[in-house]
């Protein structure tokens, strides 16, 4: 569908073309939430061994907060759907009742996203008045 068609007129004439609402009204998905960023970074840290349990452990160790399986899985799938992570099925093991592990890795798009996020933060840090942090301390 050429972009020119996506005006208000078109939607009014074709109210059932729901998918256009998505394109027109949805935000771009590149801004990362805090937890999303933590998850992507953790996946990066773990390298080849990033799957549900290890990611959960790693976050709990490093960030010192409890992560529920539900929250983690939801975030992982969302990040995968948005293209920040890619998933690959591995082998099962005895302790998992033969269930396969789903290994995650960062995609180039994901790398770009965390880099952007870092840049934004760095520029903000740089702009901070030099004496401020000392005052707080």
């Amino acid at each position: 569908m050429p972009q020119t068609k996506l005006g208000l007129d078109f939607i009014l004439k074709n109210p059932l073309h729901l998918q256009y609402y998505k394109i027109v009204f949805m935000k771009k998905g590149s801004k990362l939430g805090e937890f999303e960023e933590i998850v992507i970074l953790t996946v990066g840290i773990l390298g080849d061994n990033a799957y549900g349990v290890t990611i959960k452990d790693e976050i709990e160790d490093r960030v010192r907060r409890e992560v529920s399986v539900g929250a983690l899985q939801t975030t992982l799938r969302r990040l995968e759907k948005k293209g920040f992570l890619s998933a690959k099925q591995g082998d099962g093991s005895a302790s998992r009742g033969g269930r396969p592990k789903l290994y995650f890795s960062i995609t180039p798009y994901g790398k770009k996203a965390i880099q952007e996020s870092r840049d934004v933060r760095n520029s903000l840090w740089d702009a901070l008045p030099p004496g401020l942090l000392n005052e707080i301390a």
Binding site: Y51, Q73, K101
Partner: protein, 883 residues
């Protein structure tokens, strides 16, 4: 599931739950993660903690992004879009059948909506009290030779005794509505400004037991002190302009029962229309005790008793305790049975027969629910018929779709989508129609219903729409989707025999229902006409009755304390002299229609033990009563001033004479109320009350001090006489409204619900017939289409238009005749059952069964005539060319 068999095998249920809701593609590895975590936790934290954490994890996994869709994993939204598009295309291609469908559905749904609103309203009656589920009223059963008789009145002290002596009773209240003497309307005045107000007297827990909102003031104190009253906000606004103004002000109360100056100490919001207790002003029950010396005794039934039972008490096992309590207080009640029924049941289940609840208005609620279901079914059948009638057009579409791989279920979904869409269009239209019709409907049904704007009504409407769509769409969906594509595409229509019979069956069913409704309608209307004209044994024409609103004392209250009724006597004297008044009389309360006083404890020579408990109907009447009412005197004489009649002279009706077994009754005596009473005359039996009542034994007692006046007006002089009466009334009771009723109208008012039902059923039967005719029209369209080729061949072979029309009409006639065969016995059975409720009624002649049948038949011919004519006129060469 194959899990590792270790000592601590993981619990199964969390995993089963997970499997149930989790998306298939996520399920396996999440399960693996959970297992791994569980194993580790068992080692670190022990099995119990691990299990808890596992449950927690599974429950937290229940999130929108994790839950799998309940729909089959197809590309549903484009399919839905496609279905809707197809539906709109079908609509625009065949606007006639779309309109027929829409009219049929929306008319049917309007009727259903109105009925449901009415039922809902009936259902909510008296249910607004917060303690409704624990609120009971007390009843008493007396044995009578004709079976147990139920009364709602109880002794005044019962309420207090219930609350104090039975721990299961939380609160109890005694309520009196002045019925014992006179009507409950009195005059409340402030600085010469007066308003008539309906009063109740109640004991102190009234506002605890019932949930009437107290807006300001101290309601508990009001009910305890005799000098205080509570008034409704409406009354406060009328008298003072606002509720705040009224509090603490004094009002003068003027009523024949008692009068005085009272202080307003509480204001409540006026009872809603759905309350059976209606009152503007509330007094303490103490006034009743002060003004009637018998009212405080255990021996007399003066008040209604209501109580709140503690939670979790079973009323069945509690009832004997009330009975015991009353028997222990007073010997007299040993023979009677006291019991409680839920307070809010008294409206819908208010009829008692032989001491048991025997229905009441609930019968109408059920009747109308049944009617709603019937109308809905008729409307749905229409839809089925019409949407399958045009099947041959859809055939090709179905064939092509199936060939291209559409599954049966997706075709079924398509038809269901179409029917649900139709149903929602229908219900949207129906809502608007119902909204327009409501004022009219309210007037007929004597209700104040509005379309409620709340989530439950909204959901209800959506559910109704969905249900209609599903019912209406089920048959086309199942039937049309089942065709074999190869047969359809070859141009052959699938075997017709079974299908045609289903279609005819549907129409037969529809017409049977309509016939049933029409017959019921005729019978109900004629029975009501019969009731209106029925000779009751007394003459109710040109009799007006009214309450003398001034003071009238009788032997029980006042008269023996030296008070006198001089004013009242003068009024009656003047009344009798008024030109245009034939005769006038008085009765202590009520008339011959309801609230007839009772008399028990009558004894006579040769009385058997069982006969001692007989309660007679026993109105207390003044001079000329028999003449005023036009009751036929059989022997003896009537009460008359010449004989200086007094309380110990009585008259009987034939039924009482027969019951007592007197051969020559005049001059004999009966013993009652502590004295011998001489029988001075006997009247012929008459029908008191409504035709639902049996003729009962009557003992007329005599007392000229009755406050209810009955006057017979010479026929034809009503217009002149009424102003004279008004003048007279104004002379004696300045400022009081002259409120009178005509006895014949009062009599008809006894059948108010029957008349309402008759009028309502007239409209609903009309609707049902309209919808059925639409259905028949649909069938005609269908047949005409199916038989096009047959008709063409016949025409080619020389058949005339008329012979073909005859042929087609005959097939519809058969259908309607089938309906007649089914509906007639059913209608007969239903009507005769209903007529059995009355002690007298019309007899079911063949007329009631023939007229509906013939008229429906004629109507059906009229409906199909246009279609058959069109079918018969078909150009044979065109039709035959098609193949």
């Amino acid at each position: 599931m194959k899990l590792p068999k270790t000592m601590n095998a993981p619990p199964k249920w969390p995993f089963r739950l997970l499997k149930l809701f989790c998306r298939k593609e996520y399920h396996l590895d999440i399960e693996g993660d959970l297992l791994e975590l569980y194993e580790r936790r068992v080692q670190r934290l022990g099995p119990k903690k691990a299990k808890q954490k596992l449950w927690k994890d599974v429950i937290f996994l229940f999130r929108p992004s994790m839950i799998r869709s309940i729909l089959p994993d197809l590309n549903t939204s484009p399919m839905l879009k496609h279905h809707l598009q197809m539906a709109f295309r079908h609509i625009s291609r065949d606007k006639t059948s779309f309109l027929i469908n829409l009219i049929g559905l929306s008319v049917g749904l309007t009727a259903v909506l109105l009925i449901l609103l009415w039922v809902q309203d009936e259902w909510q009656y008296d249910k607004f009290h917060t303690k409704d589920d624990r609120l009971y009223s007390v009843y008493q059963n007396y044995d009578r030779p004709t079976g147990a008789h139920t009364t709602v009145r109880t002794p005044t002290p019962l309420a207090t005794a219930l609350a104090e002596e039975l721990p299961e009773v939380e609160q109890a209240v005694a309520v009196n509505d002045f019925f014992q003497w006179r009507n409950s309307l009195g005059l409340l005045s402030k600085d010469g400004e007066s308003v008539e107000a309906k009063a109740l007297m109640a004991s102190h827990d009234f506002f605890e037991v019932f949930s009437f909102d107290v807006l300001t003031g101290n309601s508990a104190m009001t009910m305890q002190r005799k000098d205080l009253i509570a008034i409704s906000d409406q009354l406060a606004k009328k008298l003072f302009g606002s509720t705040e103004e009224a509090l603490g002000k004094s009002l003068e109360w003027d009523h024949s029962g008692f009068k005085g100056l009272f202080q307003v100490s509480a204001i409540f919001s006026a009872p809603p229309q759905s309350s059976s207790l209606q009152f503007d002003v509330l007094f303490s029950i103490e006034h009743l005790l002060d003004n009637d010396r018998w009212a405080g005794n255990w021996t007399n039934n003066y008040v209604r008793t209501y109580f709140v039972l503690s939670p979790d008490t079973d009323i069945e096992s509690f009832n004997p305790k009330i009975d015991q309590l009353l028997s222990s207080k007073e010997e007299k009640y040993r023979s009677s049975l006291v019991f409680a029924e839920p307070f809010s049941d008294q409206y819908l289940y208010g009829r008692f027969e032989n001491g048991k609840v025997a229905g009441g208005r609930i019968a109408y609620v059920r009747l109308f629910l049944l009617l709603a279901a019937m109308i809905l079914i008729i409307a749905c059948i229409n839809f089925m018929n019409l949407s399958t009638a045009k099947a041959s057009i859809k055939m090709k579409e179905i064939g092509v779709k199936k060939t291209l791989g559409a599954s049966r279920s997706s075709l079924a979904t398509q038809f269901l989508t179409e029917s649900i869409l139709m149903a929602f269009m229908g219900i949207t239209l129906a809502l608007q129609l119902a909204y327009l019709l409501l004022p009219f409907f309210n007037r007929i049904a004597d209700k104040d219903i509005s379309i409620p704007i709340n989530p439950s009504f909204f959901t209800g409407t959506i559910v109704l729409g969905l249900a209609t769509g599903l019912i209406a769409g089920s048959y086309p969906a199942l039937y049309l989707s089942g065709f074999r594509p190869i047969t359809i595409l070859r141009g052959k229509l699938p075997s017709l025999f079974g299908e045609l019979w289903i279609r005819k069956g549907l129409v037969i069913f529809q017409f049977s229902l309509s016939l049933l409704l029409v017959t019921a309608l005729l019978v109900v209307n004629d029975q009501i006409q019969f009731i209106k004209e029925k000779q009751l044994g007394y003459d109710r024409d040109n009799v007006i009755s009214f309450q003398f609103k001034g003071e009238v004392y009788d032997n029980w209250s006042g008269l023996q304390d030296g008070k006198s009724n001089e004013t009242f006597y003068r009024f009656m004297e003047q009344l009798r002299k008024t030109p245009g008044i034939q005769t006038a009389s008085t009765i202590s309360f009520g008339n011959l229609l309801d609230k007839i006083a009772g008399q028990s404890g009558v004894s006579w020579k040769g009385q058997t033990e069982e006969e001692k408990g007989i309660s007679f109907k026993s109105p207390v009447v003044g001079y000329d009563f028999i003449e005023t009412m036009g009751i036929q005197l059989k022997e003896g004489r009537t009460f008359s001033p010449e004989f200086k009649d007094h309380y110990h002279r009585i008259m009987l009706n034939e039924s009482a004479v027969e019951l007592i077994g007197l051969d020559d009754p005049v001059g004999k005596t009966l013993r009652m109320n502590g004295g011998d009473c001489e029988i001075i005359g006997v009247v012929e039996n008459f029908q008191h009350g409504s035709l639902y009542d049996m003729i009962e034994p009557f003992i007329f007692r005599f007392d000229i001090n009755g406050g209810n006046v009955l006057a017979k007006i010479q026929s034809g002089t009503l217009a002149e006489t009424l102003p004279r009466l008004e003048e007279l009334h104004e002379e004696f009771l300045p400022g009081r409204a002259f409120e009178y009723t005509f006895l014949d109208e009062d009599y008809l008012a006894l059948y108010k619900s029957e008349s309402q039902v008759a009028i309502l059923s007239r409209y609903f039967a009309g609707l049902a017939i309209i919808v059925s005719c639409l259905g028949l029209f649909g069938l005609a369209v269908f047949t005409a289409e199916r038989r096009r080729k047959e008709i063409s061949v016949r025409k080619v072979l020389g058949a005339s238009i008329y012979s073909i029309m005859h042929l087609l009409s005959f097939s519809f006639t058969k259908v309607v005749l089938g309906a007649v065969l089914i509906a007639t016995p059913l209608a007969y059975w239903v009507s005769s059952n209903w007529l059995n409720n009355f002690s007298e009624g019309i007899s079911l002649s063949p007329y009631y069964l023939l007229v509906p049948s013939v008229s429906v038949l004629l109507l059906s011919w009229l409906t199909v005539s246009y279609q058959t004519y069109r079918a018969a006129k078909v150009n044979p060469s065109r039709a035959l060319q098609e193949q």
